[in-house]
């Protein structure tokens, strides 16, 4: 089990919890486990093609999974996985 920290903006979809648990051996598995427990959060984390949305950054401890192999990054028992939004926008 890994602890998953949920950003303020997405807590409405985890019954208000700032911290949930997800089982899995990789970052992808842990996040998928969270979306199975809280289906409403799914479309805010993944796009229609099932890819992580560009503004969703996943950290294991202090390290961005981008530097650890992406969604295949290994998660160990007791690791803390943090979802951190990057904010983007613009005009046409």
């Amino acid at each position: 089990m890994a602890k998953v920290l949920i950003p303020t903006a997405l807590r409405a979809f985890t019954d208000g919890s700032s911290e949930v648990e997800g089982a899995g051996k990789t970052a992808g598995e842990v996040i998928t486990a969270v979306t199975e427990s809280y289906p409403e959060i799914q479309k805010h984390l993944f796009d229609e093609e099932g890819k992580l949305r560009s503004y969703v950054n996943v950290f294991i401890g202090d390290e961005n999974i981008r530097n650890l192999g992406g969604l295949d990054a290994p998660v160990h028992e007791g690791d803390v996985v943090t979802l951190v939004p990057a904010i983007a926008g613009g005009r046409p």
């Binding site: 903006a9 479309k43 904010i87």
Partner: protein
């Protein structure tokens, strides 16, 4: 409904004019009352991390800047309740790009900057099903 202080409005206007013709961006700090009434009395301007040639119509706030702002807000005993950005020479209405990248919960303030002068400021909230942005009443 969100109410912002005059000072917050003035600062967003000044940031938008300073960064024109590029987009400015930053966080709104404040608190959220029980009935979802939002009050902002402070901002944290953030450097637009988009490459220079794209910054005229795009902004991005990096996760490390987000975390820094969240800590700064906590230290002030406040919360991040929204995000502001400017639309240089464009109406203050969320774009498809804003929708694609928007987060729920936050108030999205959009400032139109016309010919370098701050114009209209509006506020929006992303629908929880991501179907669109709904206008949010904004009071100064």
């Amino acid at each position: 409904m969100i109410s912002i202080t005059k000072q917050v409005q003035d600062r967003i206007n000044a940031e938008g004019e300073r960064d024109y013709p590029n987009e400015t961006c930053g966080f709104l700090l404040g608190r959220i009352e029980r009935n979802d009434v939002r009050e902002s009395d402070d901002i944290i301007p953030v450097v637009n991390a988009r490459e220079t040639e794209e910054a005229y119509h795009r902004f991005v706030i990096l996760p490390q800047d987000f975390l820094k702002a969240e800590h700064e807000a906590l230290a002030k005993n406040k919360n991040i309740i929204g995000i502001y950005h400017s639309h240089p020479d464009h109406p203050p209405i969320p774009s498809d790009y804003d929708l694609e990248h928007g987060l729920p919960f936050y108030s999205y303030l959009i400032l139109s900057v016309k010919d370098g002068k701050a114009d209209k400021l509006t506020s929006w909230r992303l629908e929880n099903d991501r179907s669109g942005f709904a206008a949010e009443e904004l009071k100064v």
